[in-house]
């Protein structure tokens, strides 16, 4: 086992633990904190795959911003511990759905024919990402930003409308 592999297993364990924590923790804030842990674990996996840019974006957007907003919303609510049992009559359906999802994911990962060299991490420089983003994928990129803009304006309109009432 090389260093990288050892480190990968540690990171993977942390990520999985974080993911489990999200669903198991009875306290919503703890869940959110476990989510940060899982997301950072994923970022670490990106680093191992030499995708630094992706890792940094993951940290910046998910680790720093998105989860803070989730925490923010939860801190201001009164719910501290999830009241009542965590399962209900929908338990078998949930189990079925989860199994199907897991199976699909495993199948997808093992059956897909990945393009490029999967034996070794491909180093993609930020210049290449930039170039691809603004040439080949310029249209989807712009559409995505347009969608975000629309939702932003929508949020502002909603917030203002509420105030006006």
């Amino acid at each position: 086992m090389t260093y990288e592999e050892a480190i990968f297993y540690v990171i993977a364990a942390v990520t999985v633990a974080g993911g489990l924590g999200v669903v198991i923790a009875r306290n919503v804030i703890h869940s959110a904190l476990f989510l940060i842990m899982a997301l950072l674990g994923v970022a670490a996996v990106y680093v191992l795959l030499a995708s630094e840019f992706l890792a940094i974006v993951q940290v910046l957007v998910y680790g720093g911003a998105v989860t803070i907003l989730i925490l923010f919303a939860m801190m201001l609510t009164r719910v501290r511990d999830t009241a009542g049992p965590m399962d209900g009559p929908q338990r078998p359906i949930a189990a079925l759905a989860a199994t199907i999802f897991l199976g699909t994911t495993v199948l997808a990962v093992t059956q897909t024919e990945w393009r490029g060299n999967t034996e070794e991490a491909t180093v993609i420089s930020i210049y290449e990402i930039g170039e691809v983003l603004f040439t080949t994928w310029a249209m989807p990129f712009e559409i995505a930003s347009l969608v975000l803009m629309v939702s932003l304006i929508g949020a502002i309109v909603l917030a203002r409308g509420e105030e006006g009432e």
């Binding site: 030499a50 801190m75 420089s125």
Partner: protein
């Protein structure tokens, strides 16, 4: 061995092994940083003392030089109190979540051409991303302490730090556009004739303001406001845990100052040549970084605190549009290949416009910052 990253240069400090080398460098950072912090607390108290016509610490050692050490010993031996109703794991982990990202950020900062931990292609980006993680720590501390002051402080910290990340990153991006690189080493090397501040005065001002806010120092010390939330997230912490907050604060102070001098003031090169002697590089960096640190301390004793909605208004209504303006200016100049001096003129004009705008808004405070109406809306949303 598989590549672990696209590092431009891999220089070995001592051991010819990547892992040992990294460990060694990290060890040096982890050792030097606390020492620096101990000295810096002394400097801060002394500087603030003089600005307030006081003497500052005088008793421990010559000119009170050992005051920081004495404080450290005192804090380490102090009883570590944890409120009974605090959420234990969150409360205890929070300080690490605050301190560790700061140390991680320290990795990316090249202090001179030789003294650095790791020269990263995405150094600037990495620094900003990692330092944003500390916010989680503040929110954790604020929530985990089970204290209303801490909670309010945590909420304020979250809101403020997240918001000011954006102008901070955008102003750094402006510089990165100009240098066509995110590598701090490259960015510094580009400034051998003219530092970027000459081309980007607007970005520089935005960076300093946002940096101040990221460091939550006056006039942006809203999360830790002593007279309002009694120290905010750190209110329930004592002893060594509390000193971790202090350490995080001071290391960030050094790092932000170092970063500002690297990307705007030409780091270890300007105003001399690229192949300065090491001592010259070190002294250049020390002078530039200290200038920022002293400025931040100076601001601390001279300027009162803003209110949270004014802070947000400043960020979203003034800094952010102007940061975008700077990026647009840079884009225009780069795309149409206008000479560099147009950059100076455009950015300088925009900077003056921003200053005037802030000046007028503050004078007519009743208009933008009315307590009722717009401001109340922000409050109820918060």
């Amino acid at each position: 061995m598989r590549s672990i990253g696209s590092y431009e240069t891999v220089t070995f400090l001592l051991a010819e092994n990547v892992w040992l080398d990294a460990l060694l460098r990290m060890g040096i950072v982890a050792l030097l940083v606390p020492v620096g912090v101990i000295l810096l607390t002394w400097v801060e108290r002394k500087v603030i003392g003089r600005l307030q016509q006081r003497l500052g610490p005088m008793h421990v050692g010559p000119f009170g030089l050992l005051q920081g050490l004495a404080d450290t010993i005192k804090l380490m031996t102090k009883e570590d109190v944890r409120p009974d109703s605090a959420d234990r794991p969150t409360f205890e982990l929070a300080v690490f979540v605050i301190v560790v990202p700061v140390f991680m950020a320290a990795v990316a900062v090249p202090f001179t051409s030789d003294i650095f931990v790791r020269n990263m292609t995405l150094g600037l980006f990495y620094f900003l991303a990692v330092s944003s993680l500390g916010i989680v720590g503040f929110v954790m501390a604020g929530w985990g302490s089970d204290n209303k002051y801490a909670l309010l402080g945590g909420v304020r910290a979250g809101a403020q730090l997240i918001s000011y990340e954006i102008p901070l990153i955008l102003s750094a991006v402006a510089v990165a556009m100009l240098g066509q690189s995110l590598n701090l080493y490259t960015l510094v090397n580009l400034q051998d004739n003219t530092p970027f501040i000459a081309y980007q005065p607007l970005a520089f001002i935005i960076f300093v303001i946002a940096g101040l806010a990221e460091l939550y120092r006056q006039p942006f010390d809203i999360p830790v406001a002593e007279t309002e939330v009694v120290g905010g997230p750190s209110v329930e912490y004592s002893g060594i845990r509390w000193s971790m907050f202090q350490m995080g604060e001071f290391v960030s102070l050094v790092l932000i100052s170092a970063l500002a001098s690297l990307i705007f003031l030409g780091g270890w090169i300007w105003p001399f040549s690229a192949d300065n002697a090491t001592w010259l590089q070190v002294s250049l960096m020390v002078v530039k970084t200290s200038a920022f640190i002293l400025f931040f301390m100076w601001m601390r004793v001279s300027v009162p605190r803003l209110r949270i909605d004014q802070l947000m208004a400043l960020c979203w209504q003034i800094l952010l549009p102007f940061a975008f303006l700077q990026i647009i200016i840079n884009g225009l100049v780069l795309v149409y290949d206008w000479p560099n001096w147009t950059l100076t003129i455009l950015s300088g004009t925009a900077a003056i416009a921003m200053g005037t705008l802030i000046y007028h808004i503050a004078r007519r405070s009743g208009v933008l910052y009315q307590t009722s109406g717009a401001a109340q809306r922000v409050g109820s949303v918060l």
